[in-house]
Symmetry: C2
Subunit: 330 residues, 2 copies
């Protein structure tokens, strides 16, 4: 019942295992008659090579380990789509390990990938990468995605979160808004921190005063923040949420309260989830090319694995997408 091995095929074809291997890997130096015998035997036995054994003897797994945080929706699927597209081109598979409760668990998960992948793509916005990699064989190539951390030994793909946040604030100011409240992301999240930093910087530059309501990237956080803003009636005339889901949560609250979003109240998010375009009024936001990041991450790690020089890429600049929630202006 166990599957046929290369030795079974060799026996069936009355040749040596070396010959079978040569035929199956398309080596030259095999006579046509030999090729035919082996292929026939292989077909008769329904032979499929054992990828695990192959990668052991070649010291090449043809797989990339991917560690992601607890991503949701489009964000997750677009990222994986981008990686998968390039992985298919490069003949690589993706070994997924998501959503780990804590750093210890994450380290454990990375360890179980040793000897099973040729490289790692790690996105861990709330885990210290130094800690993450200190327990790992340094010979395993890895790249960090969007971790916004300096001085790591590993190549990184950066998104210019801070600059993008400034762009958003500049746009809100240009549209006539002056009292811009920021709904921030989770405290330990480096992307969230960078966005808040950009917000503060831009507000300061315009001579305005910052105001931050702590959020956590969830729609509920946006709902809560908007309710708080309505309750206080403290002159806030625009909201910049650190991601779209919180912006959507806020939008629904404003809409239901009869606030003219895009008119008296400006609103902007971050990410450009598909929903941003479809909700009404449609949401001004920064578009991040998630699939592109995933693709770039994979081509980078593939290059490193192949021993090519890793093209250290410059930060990705998200694109400002102006929609109805800031269109009318004030």
């Amino acid at each position: 019942m166990a599957s046929a091995t290369i030795r079974d095929v060799a026996r069936e074809a009355q040749v040596s295992v070396a010959s079978v291997s040569r035929v199956l890997n398309g080596s030259d130096n095999v006579r046509p008659e030999m090729r035919e015998r082996v292929e026939a035997a292989s077909r008769r036995l329904g032979y499929t090579p054992h990828a695990g054994a192959r990668s052991l003897s070649l010291s090449r797994a043809h797989a990339i380990g991917v560690m992601l945080p607890d991503l949701h929706g489009e964000f997750f699927s677009e990222f994986v789509r981008g990686m998968d597209r390039e992985a298919a081109k490069a003949g690589l598979q993706l070994l997924l390990s998501n959503m780990h409760a804590d750093a210890g668990q994450a380290v454990e998960a990375l360890k179980t990938m040793r000897g099973r992948v040729d490289g790692l793509i790690v996105m861990a916005p709330d885990i210290d990468p130094a800690l993450l990699f200190s327990h790992l064989p340094q010979s395993l190539p890895a790249i960090l995605v969007s971790s916004d951390c300096e001085g790591s030994a590993h190549p990184q793909i950066q998104v210019d979160n801070m600059g993008a946040a400034e762009v958003i604030v500049d746009h809100l100011v240009a549209s006539g808004y002056r009292n811009i409240v920021h709904i921030s992301g989770p405290a330990g999240n480096r992307e969230a921190v960078a966005r808040e930093h950009g917000y503060r910087e831009a507000v300061r530059r315009h001579g305005l005063s910052p105001r931050v309501i702590q959020g956590d990237f969830s729609e509920e956080a946006g709902t809560a923040a908007a309710s708080e803003i309505l309750r206080n009636r403290d002159g806030a005339d625009a909201v910049f949420a650190a991601n779209d889901m919180m912006a959507v949560g806020a939008l629904v609250v404003f809409r239901d309260a009869g606030v003219a979003v895009g008119g008296e109240m400006g609103l902007a998010g971050f990410d450009d989830v598909p929903l941003a375009r479809l909700i009404s009024p449609s949401l001004t936001t920064m578009r991040v090319d998630i699939a592109g990041i995933g693709a770039r991450a994979l081509t980078m790690i593939a290059a490193i694995v192949n021993g090519d020089t890793a093209p250290d890429s410059e930060p990705l600049r998200p694109e400002l997408i102006i929609r109805q929630t800031t269109k009318a202006g004030k």
Copy 2:
């Protein structure tokens, strides 16, 4: 530079490889002094076991291969989330292989998983499973998700697409709609076919006449279908789209044309993507518990891999979610 192997640890600790293996796998029959020596050596060398070699000698990869179609958004991420949750519990990893252009490529992808995974979870609504598995070692356990096909040798997780479609039509009829148009999914897709079948069955049962516009699950297909309906003005008073994205495309067209969706025009989708709740007017649809399906798929395959009897599960029944697009009725 190459990573330390178990033999390096054995040499460093001046013991045999068998002892190292015993210590690291927590076997009894090791004296405390031995344990300590090995652990110290292992730490000194930064040793991490080679999972590939381990799985070769144990004939157990502790990984599950997952093959998915070109899924988008929440659908994909929720499904993976469900699997991942259970996989973490069971100590399994997920080897992903998405989005294959054609059946041949899909078969190839499955083959490269041989010897690398202990089982397969396959969702391939537009590939004939018989074809898919005919080229595979029959010893590799596999389960099919939502393939709606009879007489397969592999256990399946079914979603009652046909029954759910009937539920939707019944609801539309109960809300007063009579000329219900169906926007179908892609032609070869078995889920889409089952939904259309349910639609036709229910419409026939109510003594109404069916009308189907061919779609392909994309938002654009919904846009096109709705435009066609408006152009024809042929008395259609409700639309049942085979998925939410098409329903959303249609909704936007109707809304922009000033048609009262939920009043004079009923509209229902299928899937309950997050957008369905957030769009305005919010969309009546059938909720499918995607994460639950993923989780169930993983527990099933894990059970089979462990040699437990596979609990052959009954079809999942989606839940009717009534929202504004059918609320007012006619």
